[in-house]
């Protein structure tokens, strides 16, 4: 049952990721990416990482992609038009690089491509639980946690400062 679900979600993930890269309209690409994130969240649930799976939906699909959609709608972008030989050449090179990378990855994994002995002990209730993550996050990973929160603050302030409308010089601030 679980492998069937994994194959289903995996196929959906690959299909939507391909559509992100191939589709001409940026809004449709963004929506396919949302679908990709949701199927990835499904895969996380199958891997017993429930907290991460739902945080994936909350953060990636629910916040980051909304931000993307806001910006795409604000910029009012048309469909991408791509003609010309130089672009076709570059596109060909891009696909070849991608195929080569996939080949390398396959060759690398051939060495250790063992389905692996099924681990006898299943992951218990502990793993994937928010409690387990929280325990580690606030003890061993406390410093990265604090640094990341500073990073978020800096990013937020930076984004707001960068996109503020400029007043012409010489105008009085009310």
């Amino acid at each position: 049952m679980v492998p069937v679900l994994f194959l289903g979600f995996g196929a959906l993930l690959v299909a939507t990721a391909l559509m992100v890269v191939l589709h001409r309209n940026p809004v449709t690409s963004a929506l396919f990416l949302v679908l990709a994130f949701c199927s990835l969240a499904g895969i996380y649930l199958l891997l017993h990482a429930e907290f991460i799976g739902l945080v994936q939906i909350i953060v990636y699909a629910g916040a980051i992609m909304v931000l993307f959609l806001f910006v795409i709608m604000y910029l009012n972008l048309p469909h991408d038009v791509e003609h010309g030989t130089h672009i076709a050449v570059r596109r060909g090179i891009g696909w070849m690089v991608g195929a080569l990378m996939l080949l390398f990855a396959t060759l690398l994994m051939r060495r250790g491509w063992a389905p692996g002995p099924e681990n006898a002990a299943m992951i218990g209730q502990e793993h994937g639980n928010a409690a387990a993550i929280g325990r580690e996050l606030y003890s061993r990973f406390l410093f990265p946690f604090e640094v990341t929160s500073m990073l978020l603050l800096v990013a937020m302030v930076g984004a707001i400062v960068m996109t503020k409308a400029r007043r012409p010089a010489g105008e009085e601030r009310p």
Binding site: L13, V14, V20, V21, A105, G116, F141, A155
Partner: protein, 100 residues
């Protein structure tokens, strides 16, 4: 149980699709989305290994990657909006002058 090989294969495939997206597309926003695909492929690999090695560290790293990706998207989109205001375009091969 899902064999680790399958998850890693999926992660590699998504990563390669992301690389193709970065190289092939001209729209800066779609390039950004492909970068997010690559980050998610890495996340998937982390979670898979975390489950394989029975360690919660994989999921903690994923937590941090998601946070940093969120911050990066916010700042990156602000930059793209600013560039659009200056250059009236988001196509990466038309934004080729540092001046202005």
């Amino acid at each position: 149980m899902i064999p680790i090989g399958w998850t890693l294969a999926l992660s590699a495939a998504i990563f390669c699709i992301g690389v193709v997206g970065v190289l092939v597309r001209r729209n800066a926003l779609v390039v950004f989305m492909s970068i997010e695909l690559m980050l998610n492929a890495a996340n998937l690999a982390f979670v898979a290994f975390g489950q394989q090695l029975k360690s919660i560290d994989g999921q903690i790293i994923v937590f941090f990657v998601m946070t940093v990706a969120a911050a990066e998207v916010a700042v990156g989109l602000a930059i793209i909006v600013n560039v659009f205001r200056l250059r009236e375009t988001v196509f990466v091969d038309e934004i080729n002058l540092l001046k202005g």
